[in-house]
């Protein structure tokens, strides 16, 4: 038989096994189309216009009767045959009332099933006695079913509205959280670049107030004994005034800040002004509107540093849902504070290390220093001894001269009488031979200069190792004072300064020592020169980050091979005139400590210029 001429049968059945069986039985004689559910079945029926539709009565979504009624409306001429395991009379009646022309029961009898289908295709119609009654019953059932469906749909719609609302709320919360997190990221970005603790805290409260539109924000840090939280930064004038009076809170449950630190958890106070929570005494200071407070603990590596507290002029400004984002912010602030602390500690350690290193350098130089001090001190005992002997010899001479007593009427005679018995009578002949006032004075000068050189050695060795006292420096005044105190002959030193110089930061004593050494160095180089000139020039450097001071002399200059050696400790060309070989190394050390630069330019026979560059703020 030509397959195209075979009748098409659509079988709507949700059970796969049933479809497979029926399809196998019918496919020898018919084209069998299958649908697994009612709506798909309706579509397939409309598309294919089958010659007969076999439909399961027990389907999801629509029951068999409803499906039959629908198909009857859409395809009024297509015979519908109900197929069900329900063998009751009522089931059969419902199917026929819905528009089916026949009712077959499961399980099928393979021998007669094909034949039964054939009969329906051939025009067989089962009759329903009292059809009107059954159809009325069917319509009533249908209405009841519809009503149920409508209720179900209404419930679903309500549920949808609820879900939608919840979605909106979630989206809103997520957006707020996103905003808070973004603000936290911005705050974090700004503050992590600040390493000075006070500046960090100040900027943090300002940025937080701006980002979160807050009335006031403050940072409290725990005291060393952990008993108090001191306000370390506060927004605006209120913050400044609290800071000025050293505002602090006891760590107790009397304040949100105290509780947040004790409990290591955020504390929300929804309405500070209701008085019941006694959150802050801040209310005493400010005429604040009804506001809410949030205190967040600042915790780093398990240690509480203090608390961050926010104040809003809205009564319910902070909610539990905001906590994760705001705590994230507090954590960032804690990290930044910790960084600032670490850096401060590191700087202290570094300073200590520098001091230790300097002392080590001194220790290394001590061997040489002993030698030098010994050398410089060598003439002192001899000179002192000679001066003593000479003075005694003078006294003896005077004693002999006054032996006759003819000066006994002189007003100073009683004093002289007291001295006479203390004069030893044995003075070596050689002493008497060489006795002169010049010799005594010369020995005293030798003693004075030797002792001074020793003190210079000490100053150059120890001076740069001193702890620095950094302050603002008025360079012109410092240079004038230094030059004045050196008391070089008038006209030797000329000071030329730019009209206005930026103030520097540095250690006044060290810088004074620096310029003193450089000018002294120039002066010593000019020894024996007829017209010694030292020009000190202070101006802004070509590189505007530095202030430049030049010390220029018109002395002999420095040979190229000496230019490096002058920076070495105990190297000197002026040993004969009390040079210690420590002055220029000390200068280098001072300039290095000020993060400046020091170098020398010189042409032999045309003087030398020592150039100091100090960082301008």
């Amino acid at each position: 038989m030509d397959p195209r001429s075979q009748p098409k049968i659509l079988y709507i059945e949700d059970t796969a096994d049933a479809r497979a069986l029926v399809s196998r039985v019918l496919s020898r004689h018919y084209i069998v189309l299958e649908a697994a559910e009612p709506l798909g079945g309706i579509e397939l029926a409309l598309d294919t216009h089958p010659d007969l539709i076999l439909l399961d009565m027990n389907l999801p979504q629509l029951n068999g009767s409803e499906l039959a009624a629908r198909l009857k409306t859409l395809l009024p001429n297509t015979p519908l045959v109900a197929f069900s395991a329900d063998t009751s009379v009522e089931a059969r009646q419902r199917a026929l009332a819905a528009g089916c022309i026949g009712y077959l029961t499961k399980p099928i009898d393979i021998d007669v099933f094909v034949e039964q289908i054939g009969e329906f295709l051939g025009g067989k119609r089962e009759s329903l006695p009292n059809a009107a009654i059954h159809q009325q019953q069917f319509a009533s059932d249908l209405v009841a079913r519809l009503e149920g469906k409508v209720r179900e749909l209404t419930r679903t719609a309500d549920r949808n509205a609820f879900l939608n609302e919840q979605n909106q709320r979630l989206i809103g919360a997520l957006q707020r959280r996103q905003r808070l997190l973004e603000a936290a990221a911005r705050v974090s970005h700004i503050i992590t670049s600040i390493l000075d603790l006070d500046e960090l805290l100040r900027v943090t409260v300002d940025v937080i107030c701006e980002e979160y539109t807050l009335y006031f924000a403050a940072i409290y840090l725990l005291s060393a004994d952990q008993k108090q939280a001191a306000l370390r930064a506060g927004r605006g004038e209120l913050g400044n005034s609290l800071l000025a009076q050293g505002y602090s809170l006891d760590i107790s449950d009397q304040s949100a800040v105290g509780r947040s630190i004790m409990q290591r958890a955020a504390q929300i106070t929804r309405q500070v002004s209701d008085g019941s929570l006694a959150s802050v005494e801040l209310l005493d200071f400010a005429d604040l509107p009804s506001l809410s407070e949030l205190a967040l603990p600042l915790i780093i590596k398990g240690t509480v540093l203090g608390a961050l507290s926010f104040y809003s002029d809205q009564p319910e400004a902070f909610s539990e849902e905001d906590m994760p984002a705001l705590q994230a912010l507090a954590d960032q602030v804690a990290v930044a504070i910790d960084n600032a602390h670490l850096l401060r500690d590191l700087e202290c350690a570094n300073q200590e290390l520098l001091r230790v290193k300097t002392f080590e350098a001194i220790a290394a130089a001590t061997g040489e220093a002993i030698h030098w001090v010994g050398n410089k001190a060598a003439p002192i005992p001899g000179s002192a001894r000679r001066a003593r002997e000479d003075i005694l010899a003078l006294a003896q001479i005077f004693c002999n001269l006054t032996a006759g007593g003819e000066l006994s009427s002189h007003p100073l005679w009683p004093a002289w009488k007291r001295v006479i018995p203390t004069i030893p009578m044995e003075i070596p002949a050689s002493t008497i031979e060489l006795l002169s006032l010049e010799s005594i004075l010369e020995d005293l000068i030798i003693i004075e200069q030797s002792a001074q050189t020793i003190l210079d050695v000490k100053e150059d060795l120890i001076g740069p190792a001193r702890l620095k006292h950094i302050a603002e420096i008025d360079l012109p005044a410092l240079l004038q004072q230094t030059i004045f105190e050196m008391a070089l002959p008038p006209g030797v030193v000329q000071l030329r300064q730019a009209a206005s110089l930026p103030h520097l930061r540095g250690d006044a004593r060290q810088l004074s020592q620096l310029f003193n050494n450089l000018i002294k160095n120039a002066w010593e180089a000019l020894y024996g020169f007829a017209e010694p000139k030292i020009v000190v020039t202070a101006r802004l450097s070509d590189d505007p980050h530095y202030v430049q001071v030049d010390v220029t002399d018109n002395g002999p200059g420095i040979a190229p091979e000496m230019l490096q050696r002058i920076w070495v400790s105990f190297f000197t060309t002026k040993a004969a005139r009390g040079g210690t070989g420590l002055g220029l190394p000390a200068c280098m050390s001072i300039v290095n400590q000020h993060e400046g630069k020091l170098f020398v330019e010189s042409t032999v026979g045309a003087g030398a210029t020592f150039r100091v560059l100090l960082p301008a703020p």
Partner: protein, 135 residues
């Protein structure tokens, strides 16, 4: 022994001057030079008429080049010994210059003296010149 001539060569003026005065009181005629070059000139100038009986040489001072040198005095020592092999020489030294002192003795120095105790220097000089006189 009195009136014997001593040459001091040391670039540290105060040290040299003080030693000069101390030795002068002990009865010596003392001349001072402040560098190797000057020391050699003074020594050579005196060679013909009234040669020096003893030299005190610092080790670290401007050498013959005119620049400060460690151990420049050793070179002067050799030159003076070349001019007068019998000349007693005392090398002025410091605690940390043991090797240079040894080198000086190898080059013919009679003694070395650690700067600082001038009275001890007088004793040392006196001993050396007595030995010289007894020859």
């Amino acid at each position: 022994m009195q009136g014997k001539k001593i040459l001091i060569v040391d670039d540290e003026q105060l040290v040299a001057r003080s030693m000069q005065k101390t030795l002068a009181r002990a009865g010596y005629t003392v001349q001072v030079a402040y560098s190797c070059t000057e020391g050699l000139q003074v020594f050579e100038a005196a060679q013909a008429a009234a040669p020096f009986d003893l030299a005190l040489l610092d080790l670290n001072m401007p050498g013959f080049s005119g620049q400060p040198e460690n151990g420049a005095g050793l070179e002067l020592l050799s030159r003076l010994k070349a001019l007068n092999p019998g000349l007693p020489v005392v090398v002025l030294t410091a605690y940390d210059e043991v090797n240079k002192a040894r080198e000086a003795v190898l080059r013919g120095a009679q003694a070395f003296f650690v700067k600082g105790r001038e009275q001890a220097l007088v004793d040392q000089v006196r001993t050396l010149l007595q030995g010289d006189a007894s020859r």
